[in-house]
């Protein structure tokens, strides 16, 4: 994902001389292409996220597009008021990039687990929020972000995420990754995932086929969300399940709940995510996803349990 991001930003730099990359002393190895080939477009601000956000706002207000890059919570929570007041309120053309959303830096501990960022960024007026699942989504998201004249948040994994088999690829829409059967008597469920858990969602959709009539979707754009697409899914399924490497408060699950409530649809919603808790253990991203029930096995187990209870 990191590579796809840097390549996409380099393409933008080729097209537009006013594109800049700011970092708060991170991106070793990742930034090589920019440092070597676009050195005057690259600014290492030092370990100064607050100053980076405000300086990016200043540059943007002078007509530039500034990508500001760091990992985990550093480019979001650490400089939140700068993002709110200087960037978002002034509609500054700043693209905030966080590498390592969710458990990507699982072994490094609590400070490096980013599981509230989507909620916080979604709450900022005017902020567009993307959480792509694989490199193809990242490339499309960067292109889209550049078209938006205003603040954008892009939440990435760390790298090495498996490619998602999209049936449709339109980054502004809910994107189908698994079709349901046309005529089936099984209860219909739609699995909606965002970001790094989408591969697990795709796997889970296969394993749940015996019990449910399953479809699955990747939702890289969390705000503004594809209201029509989500509504259609809600209306045509008995149950909608959201999966995210994020707190269930404020993330994808909440975004879907808002659509359901605002449009008076009665669809059942199950939110799978961090249950308003901090991580208590460390380990690889796979380990943590499993531990907190966000991986394929966790999703399948949860839905089987619900089925058993309800069809007893």
């Amino acid at each position: 994902m990191k590579k796809a991001l840097i390549n996409a930003v380099c393409n933008l730099m080729d097209e537009n001389e006013n594109v800049y990359m700011f970092t708060a002393d991170l991106g070793y190895g990742v930034m090589n292409n920019i440092i070597e080939n676009y050195s005057e477009k690259f600014v290492n601000m030092g370990i100064c996220e607050q100053n980076m956000a405000s300086t990016a706002a200043g540059m943007a207000m002078e007509g530039n597009i500034v990508f500001m890059y760091s990992i985990g919570n550093f480019p979001t929570l650490r400089c939140l008021e700068q993002i709110r007041n200087d960037i978002a309120y002034h509609c500054a053309n700043v693209k905030i990039v966080a590498v390592g959303g969710g458990f990507a830096y699982g072994n490094l501990g609590m400070s490096h687990h980013a599981t509230e960022d989507i909620a916080v960024m979604r709450a900022i007026p005017g902020m567009t929020v993307f959480s792509p699942a694989d490199s193809s989504e990242v490339t499309a998201v960067v292109k889209e972000a550049a078209k938006i004249d205003g603040p954008v948040y892009i939440r990435l994994g760390r790298g090495g995420e498996p490619d998602v088999a999209h049936i449709s690829l339109d980054i502004n829409k809910v994107m189908r990754i698994a079709e349901r059967e046309s005529d089936s008597m099984k209860p219909s469920i739609a699995l909606l995932g965002t970001g790094t858990v989408v591969a697990d969602v795709a796997d889970a959709s296969k394993q749940l086929k015996e019990t449910y009539n399953v479809s699955a979707y990747s939702i890289p754009k969390l705000k503004p969300i594809d209201m029509d697409g989500v509504l259609e899914i809600c209306k045509s399924n008995d149950c909608v399940v959201t999966v995210e490497e994020h707190n269930i408060v404020g993330g994808l699950g909440s975004a879907i709940a808002e659509v359901i409530a605002d449009n008076k649809v009665g669809t059942r919603l199950i939110r799978i995510g961090m249950n308003d808790q901090f991580t208590q253990v460390v380990g690889s991203p796979d380990y943590l996803r499993h531990y907190y029930g966000l991986d394929c096995a966790g999703i399948v187990e949860k839905l089987h349990k619900i089925y058993e209870v309800e069809n007893d």
Partner: protein, 282 residues
Amino acid sequence: MGIRECTVEKLGVKKTMTSKELANRLRVHTVEMAHYSKESHVASALSICDIVAVLYHDVLRKDPMDAKWEERDRFILSKGHACSTVYAALAETGFFSVDELNTQCQDGSRLSGHITYKNVPGVELSTGSLGHGCCVAAGMALNAKLKGKKYRTFVLVGDGECDEGSVWEMALFAHQYKLGNLTVVVDHNKMQAMGFCKDIADHVNLADKWQAFGWEVIEVDGHDHGQLSMALNKRGTEKPVCVVAHTIKGKGVTFMENNLLWHYRDPQGEDYENALRELRAQ
């Protein structure tokens, strides 16, 4: 009660172990831990082994049998990414078993890649986001001052960490409130994550900066145990103390010294063996 008495009396750690020997053990542990965890920051950890060894050997009043002893000195690692050194110091001084060190960062381990206080006896504060620990330390020092408590508070920060504005907000505060019971140690290895500090956010002269904020500043060779012990045992009266410790990132393993690669790379294969061989010969 100093750590030495505690460990010697209660835990039977070899009485003759000098702070130098402790520092060397910490170095071996940090290299082993980076090897097994396959995680970054081994050079950042090697940089502080002497400082941490002197703190735990000669300075901090701690009781490993009673990690929350009220009168204990507080020590916070603000550059939390160098935690292997402190985990190793805690294990070597009896807070938990040395055998646990190599589980760091493994699935389900309590020893995370940035220092954590959750379930780890002897750790005061979880850090990992730079520029937090020093401010929390000021809060602990303020408590001691307001309540007339004798404990001292020590905090170890990186020089790159001193880019963060919060560090200097704390510097203003601790001076204003005359926190002579607070000692900040700056691990001044002149490097940060993307290169040399002077090429990224030049501090020009860190010692001058702390002095200009009204602190008592002591500059030492951060690998000289005599100088470290003198500076760290010096309690401020009214002024908070800043020990600017000139260090070498990666100290002790020649090929890691001043080499940015080892902020990131974990020692494997020949590198691992060579590193251990060099440390064991010291």
